[in-house]
Amino acid sequence: MPKAATTCSPTPTLTEIADAHGKSVAQVVLRWLIQRDVVVIPKSVRPERMAENLAVFDFELTDDQMAQVAGLDTGESLFFDHRDPAAVSQLGNYRVN
């Protein structure tokens, strides 16, 4: 199975927005998705990180901050690209049972 990226390098934009709200970059990313009505399912094995990921309902990104984050899109996937024939072929040949 293809490995997902384990890190998303914080950019100055994300760090500034996080600092403005007293939150982490990860929390800002989750909040940005939630405000776009995307259901998020973050993974962690650390209880403190699980709690951090859950603490995203006590702040709100402004319209300007939402646009700033959207402007970071490079059009390329950090890990698995469903448009890459080689990656799709690998996934298509994977069997669970």
Partner: protein, 157 residues
């Protein structure tokens, strides 16, 4: 413990907008991780047959004192294992058995854009089989994951 906001799916089902994912958690750590997540306040668990950890998720759910109706549970069908129609029902039953559940809140077709058949893939027959099987009453919502937005519609608040 915070109440997690929900989104309303197109069929009226309420789904917590934040859940706990178990993809790529080492198998030996999965049960403990799910236990911790439930203790911290997660009420939505996301797994898949392809993650090969449904049993561990099921064990964590079993030892939890949280009522079943208070946890939204999702798993996914790996369609490369279900090219024949009856395999879909078998895969669904296997997932329920591994999870130790009698029903799912959400059953997803995992990566339906990935197919190896010239006919367009098993997506349509496995979907229809999942809908028509007697066990279909044990799925609240059936749809697809890891696919384009042209196939699924966004949820409404």
């Amino acid at each position: 413990m915070p109440t997690i906001p929900t989104v309303t799916l197109n069929n009226g089902v309420e789904m917590p907008i934040l859940g706990f994912g178990v993809f790529q958690i080492p198998h030996e750590d999965t049960e403990r991780a799910v236990n911790d997540a439930l203790s911290v306040g997660y009420r939505h668990l996301d797994t898949a047959a392809a993650y090969q950890n449904e049993e561990a998720v099921g064990r964590a759910i079993a030892v939890s004192a949280i009522p079943r109706e208070d946890v939204f549970i999702t798993t996914k069908l790996w369609i490369q294992d279900a090219p024949a129609e009856d395999n879909t029902r078998r895969a669904f039953e296997q997932s329920l058995t591994r999870l130790g559940l009698d029903h799912l809140d959400l059953y997803l077709i995992h990566s339906p854009s990935v197919t190896s058949t010239a006919s367009g893939g098993p997506c349509k027959p496995c979907t229809s089989k999942a809908r028509s099987a007697p066990s279909a009453s044990r799925i609240s919502t059936l749809t697809a994951s890891s696919t384009s937005s042209t196939i699924t519609r966004p949820p409404r608040r």
